[in-house]
Symmetry: C2
Subunit: 474 residues, 2 copies
């Protein structure tokens, strides 16, 4: 593929200018970070807690994007502090350090505090101060990650990381949180360190291959063959500070494939829209109704209210429930075209299943054993010959006993309605979602979604994109 070098270069230059913090912004953010670092240290002292407080994350590594700073302050606490106390102690310190600011309690592996200072989001996160390799919690590695990147990412490469991050944000694969299941900032930094530049990373992913395995620090030197067996994700990046960990383990195959496809498309036909996808203009309600009617499929929406869970838990449970219900529909013979989930993470959740048809024929074929399975054949005949469920047969087809029987469920809405009426735990719905469903839900079909659509602009955009189906860069 002959990359349009001029265009490529021009586009990267334009983007880089927009996303590199200007001195003024940089001063403000770095000033804020320094001040906060001190306040947290002081608050810890105030409570008599022995804590090492340090700025981490993209601001520390100078890989943040202009306009989107995230200040991460870590407080490293003594390893002998009980796990149960860690969060409480940290929250107490963090609250005092950000007194007067808007504060939101968050939860990843343990609780941490999110606060807003001068409209800048800051995260104050606890971890254990451990030696490398003696990790007590997942966040304990973060300071080592920061150190590694600071040591290996040359200053002139920071722009390359910014380009890669912005590209990934643009195509929707950036972020290791459950909702996205994409590439973390740290992974972007390692990719640039390993491949040398933004374009080199794209070139590497654009190659046709089933898997990518990168052992950046050659931890497995001499036994590289073992790597594909030790890790089974399509994308593997051995953590330079922990050879047992795949930095890309949170990257969902779908996000990996999307990045591969987008990298190819961009190299072939560079465009700003990869970095800055056009805003979706939602269809009008009238147009939505017309579009759904013309499609002729059956779009089922399971609409329900608040789920008692923080975003990472919420999305994990939504995805799990979505997979279970998709499987239920498929094993009940419904032809499932696509499925998706949407949530405002507060009071509205929507599971979407698009079927070829809402109704199935009442009649289906049920294949029995081959004739040469003597005992199975006997049982099959005993069961079906005089059964009231049998509509035709048993007869022999292709050497197998076969029978035509009535389907138990012919209407997808009835099926879902019945399976979800007690929350749907037996149908594989995750616990928190089942609890929310127990408090009530609606199953809407096609244009019945119009009201919900009209009331939620973000959902309207999502559904408009879903109906379109193709990536914006395509």
């Amino acid at each position: 593929m002959p990359p349009a070098q001029d265009t490529l270069g021009a586009i990267c230059k334009t983007v880089l200018e927009r996303i590199t913090p200007k001195p003024e912004e940089r001063e403000k953010i770095e000033g804020l970070a320094k001040a906060l670092e001190k306040k947290v240290a002081k608050a810890a002292e105030h409570f008599g807690v022995k804590a090492t407080v340090r700025l981490e994350g993209s601001v520390a590594k100078d890989t943040w994007l202009s306009g989107e700073p995230d200040i991460d302050i870590f407080m490293r606490l003594p390893p002998n502090m009980p796990r149960s106390a860690l969060g409480e102690v940290a929250l107490k310190i963090a609250r005092k350090a950000t007194e007067g600011a808007k504060q939101v309690e968050r939860f990843a592996e343990h609780p941490y505090l999110e606060a807003f200072l001068d409209e800048v989001r800051v995260n104050i996160v606890p971890c254990y101060k451990t030696q490398s390799g003696e990790w007590l919690s997942a966040t304990d590695r973060t300071p080592y990650h920061t150190d590694y990147v600071k040591r290996h990412l040359k200053p002139e490469m920071r722009g390359e990381v910014r380009l890669l991050k912005k590209f990934m944000k643009g195509i929707g694969v950036y972020g290791a949180e459950i909702k996205v299941g994409g590439f973390s900032g740290y992974l972007c930094e390692l990719l640039v360190i390993h491949y040398g530049s933004f374009l080199n990373v794209l070139e590497a992913f654009a190659q046709p291959k089933q898997r990518m395995v990168v052992d950046i620090e050659k931890h497995y030197k001499g036994r590289e063959d073992e790597l594909p067996l030790l890790f089974n994700e399509p994308l593997v990046m051995i953590d330079p500070v922990d050879m047992g960990r795949n930095v890309a383990s949170a990257v969902q195959p779908q996000k990996f494939y999307t990045f591969v496809a987008a990298a190819r498309a961009f190299l072939e036909k560079p465009s700003l829209k990869f970095f800055y996808p056009p805003e979706t203009a939602p269809l009008t309600v009238e147009k939505l109704k017309e579009t759904l009617k013309k499609r002729g499929s059956a779009m089922l929406f399971i609409v329900f209210g608040e789920v008692d869970a923080v975003p990472d838990i919420l999305w994990g449970q939504l995805y799990k429930s979505q997979r279970s219900l998709a499987k239920l529909l498929e094993t009940t013979d419904f032809a499932l075209l696509r499925h998706a989930v949407w949530s405002d993470e507060e009071k509205l959740n929507v599971l979407i299943f698009e079927l070829e048809s809402r109704q199935l024929s009442p009649l289906k074929r049920h294949l029995g054993p081959p004739l040469d399975k003597l005992e199975d054949s006997r049982k099959f005949l005993a069961k079906h010959v005089a059964s009231p469920e049998t509509v035709s047969g048993p007869y022999i087809e292709g050497g197998r006993w076969t029978v035509e029987i009535k389907r138990k469920y012919t209407d997808a809405v009835s099926l879902l309605g019945e399976k979800l009426k007690d929350g749907g735990r037996n149908a594989g719905v995750a616990k928190k979602i089942a609890q929310a469903l127990s408090r009530g839900f609606k199953i809407l079909v096609n244009e019945e979604i119009a009201e919900t659509y009209a009331e939620n602009i973000e959902f309207a955009k999502f559904l408009t994109d879903f109906l379109q189906g193709k990536p914006k860069w395509l």
Copy 2:
């Protein structure tokens, strides 16, 4: 399986009494046969044709069933007679020999005459008088078959052959003609010679196995391993008079399986109904309509008139057309439950296709290439990104490009109507059937068949059995 020996024996005895010709019937048939043999020889002489005339078939071998005699007179003609003349010469002789009787010209490999004398059907068939192994036409082997059976079938075993034939007739697997695709009389005789008795044959077939290969004269002694490779039918019986021929080659797998299943069922629970299946009482038209409605499937009937072909050709072409249209429906995504064909061999033919539903969703998923097929992916995207057929996508699913497109055909009746409007040769309909379709056809759905049903008692019985679906002995 513990066979109910008493019942078994009693049932076989009852059947045998009914099917063994009484002396009076035997005298009549054997007298008729002898007289006809002489007349044919005389007629040949009259026309100056050198013919060896002899009684063949079940009457010659004394394995015919009481009430169902078939007198086969063969005239063996000189090998130097041209093939084109063989039929004409034979018909001329046969017509003269049966002057005054009802005569029907038939056709198998070459023309022969069917006539009715004293309400007994006689077939006068020509063949070449060749040495064994120097066959010029398929029927040349018949006299050798007769000789082989006369030599190897002990008189006390003739009843066993009669039982086997009657059993096979009862379950619908007797007859090598295309319509049935079952077991010939000669095959029944060889099976009894090989296994020793009717019940032994049943026991042998009742065993669970994928295939049966019998080399009765051990033509392949020492190289039995080759047999399964030389023949690929599920049932192989090496012809004792021609080691290159499988006597069971006309036995369709479905008939083989049916015999296997019936043999098992009979040995487990013997009953007269295997030999004498109850006559079908066709549903009333009202009941038929109700039954079709309750099924909820879509039963499509392609109804058309006379086909210009003798029965063996007619059935061969009907079956071929049935298979082609079944494949057409399946590749167009219709869920086909079962299909069948009915014909009165004169003026009415019906192809039946039962579908889960007559209609399909207008929308379907179309899977494209995996992402790692670079060139295929590029072509797929080029084709579908801006195509008016594309409803959603292309999007990536499971590492493959996928697109949702409109189906070309959503109504099975429209599909068949369009494909058959010029006879359907392009859809795989056989030539003679296509000619008949070109003269007109109707596609009827569900209760629209009522009129045809009401007018044809045999078709009504057939459809009643088809809806029931299970063998009568089950």
